[in-house]
Point group: C2
Chain length 376, copies 2
């Protein structure tokens, strides 16, 4: 329950948070502009900015004033984005990917290592910690680390269930990493992070209700509802489970195609789909039909969630987002046919960094909440 009352100092915290939020927009602003934007008087804005300068959340831009107007030049301030760093890590079965960013969300470094899918859980955790250590740009500045991984991840950061990574089920990822890292560690399901990334700087920017279809070896959903990530009561939102809809059958056509077109190779569902997409692009009509059937199955599954949720946007993400219009177009066509209000269907353009990017966003959100809002 949110605290709804307060003494005089609450006012300062409130106004301080308002000013900070404006600064976090990334613009370089003067005191006058800040005061107007935050709807406070100039002296108030000045006092708050002085506080923020002392706390190093803001910095003054010396020299080069952009556009010379007449009158005394105003002091100009900006958010001190390089005051802190966060790291977001995508922990998959075969690879670990870490993205380091500053508080402005500017990417400072990206590191990727491949790991064996059979790696035991404790070694995998150690590998994540090691990757984080390597990814640190400035040890002093690291403020939070967020991890995205497959499976059902509960609110405390435990992997309740994972089929994709053997031995991952039951692992307390949060505790394991918190013991190895000296900063707050957040853990979240990968699909939810992917939709967070799309909402932050992807195709879902500005949308409030988004269904994210995650494709790869498995199929899952990430739901953004009312501008907020939906986790579900057991943190299992987005899991498809065994439902008898299109999803379960989705891969059949592309697997059949891959097996008949290239019998020698043994392929995972995802590899089969990628293979079929590649051939379809190259002009193979049978491959194109298989991909279209695949898209149709996905769309059939999507309908069951699109109709009741009424989202504005469906994002096709995961490894098959590269298929682009080959998947998007048939899905859009099917949704147009059978839903009351067809949402727009688009492919993710964030590539395979989307989960790590979403983890960065999660870490930044965490800092926003803990640093900037109540106490400060």
């Amino acid at each position: 329950m949110r605290q709804e009352s307060g003494d005089a100092s609450l006012l300062r915290r409130l106004n301080s948070a308002a000013i900070l939020r404006i600064l976090r927009g990334g613009e370089v602003v003067t005191l006058t502009e800040l005061a107007r934007a935050a709807r406070v008087s100039r002296p108030t804005a000045e006092g708050i900015v002085e506080d923020l300068l002392a706390k190093r959340w803001a910095e003054e831009c010396e020299g080069e004033s952009a556009d010379r107007q007449r009158g005394r030049p105003a002091r100009r301030f900006r958010f001190h984005g390089s005051a802190g760093h966060v790291i977001g890590v995508d922990v998959g079965g075969y690879k670990l990917l870490a993205v380091t960013a500053d508080l402005n969300g500017r990417i400072l470094a990206t590191r990727r290592v491949t790991v064996s899918p059979d790696l035991p859980a404790d070694e995998r955790i150690a590998a994540v910690a090691a990757l984080v250590e390597e990814s640190v740009v400035d040890k002093e500045k690291l403020a939070a680390v967020a991890i995205g991984t497959t499976g059902v991840v509960d609110g405390a950061g435990r992997v309740v269930k994972s089929v994709a990574i053997p031995g991952w089920t039951g692992v307390d990822l949060q505790a394991g990493l918190a013991a190895l890292l000296p900063v707050p560690v957040l853990v979240e399901n990968d699909m939810r992070l992917a939709v967070l990334a799309e909402h932050w700087r992807g195709v879902a920017e500005g949308y409030r209700d988004v269904v994210y279809l995650f494709t790869g070896n498995r199929i899952g959903l990430g739901l953004l509802i009312g501008g907020r990530l939906h986790r579900g009561s057991h943190a299992a939102s987005g899991e498809i489970g065994d439902q008898p809809s299109g999803y379960r059958l989705a891969f059949r056509n592309v697997i059949d195609y891959a097996m008949s077109a290239d019998p020698g190779e043994l392929r995972s569902p995802r590899q089969s789909a990628e293979f079929a997409v590649g051939r379809a692009r190259a002009g193979d009509e049978e491959a194109a039909r298989a991909v279209e059937a695949f898209a149709f199955r996905l769309a059939e599954g999507l309908v069951t969630i699109v109709n009741p949720l009424d989202p504005e946007l469906v994002v096709v993400g995961g490894s098959l987002s590269q298929a682009g219009s080959l998947l998007v177009e048939p899905i859009q066509r099917h949704l147009n046919r059978v839903t009351l209000y067809p949402p727009e269907v688009v492919a993710s353009r964030l590539g395979n960094e989307s989960v790590a990017l979403g983890a960065v966003r999660l870490a930044l959100d965490h800092l926003d909440r803990t640093l900037f809002t109540p106490a400060s």
Copy 2:
């Protein structure tokens, strides 16, 4: 966008809202209790309560102090619930049902009229206005009216689409009623109001993620997500449309049963289901099988939304909630079998007043927002 800054008076509004919220809990409280609960000092609480007394939002309880302790008896206050009334109306094809309540949510009156399903839209609107007029307990005190009706109702209170009531599609219900009634008029989809009612004083009290299955002549969903009503981007959330899942086929078995068991009668899907439920209760095994098949179809549809949303609770409402465990038990069984985290399945106990009750709650929420929070 919420206003995030403010001057000194904001503090008073904030604390005032906090005090009022505590009073709205319905308890009779002393100043000391209020001060502690709202986390403000006693003099502050006293000043605010004086304001509220002057504005007639609070009233002092004279005399009968409940439990005599020693010391000077404290003045005791409560929310002045009878200061205002709201009316919630369920507008269906065959009936109009109005529930009048005070600001405490205490029901003051219930009126019901039957109408012809062929009633033209403007006459239906006039009938609603007339029913509201009749339902008024104290003209001075009426503060808001909320309407629930079938179909897709957009944010401005227009009926964008309705199949259940002929001629209802395209009607601007909000404008039509606002012209006839002297108070704010709110319009919302009936299924969403039903879930609001369950969350207020029904089986969903205290739950944050709820799927409400509305049964009647048509099937739809109401979604409570994160403790808030989900409307969807076109206000069409909960509409099932033409999706090829269990829903569409749901009624087949009970219709077949009704036609074979009692060929003379012509029954709507809903009547068929009610007929089968009645026979099943009376011990007819074939009817029981038909009802079970019906429940199974519903469950199949539910799975497609329960898995991705991961709700805590599924409420079976609408006219078939009376079937109780006859529907609930097979649905629960199926969900237990095929979902990762089966939610609890329960039947609504609000009966056919749930939509009107939800409309009352909507009106009360509206008043809370407009009267009690920002300006006041």
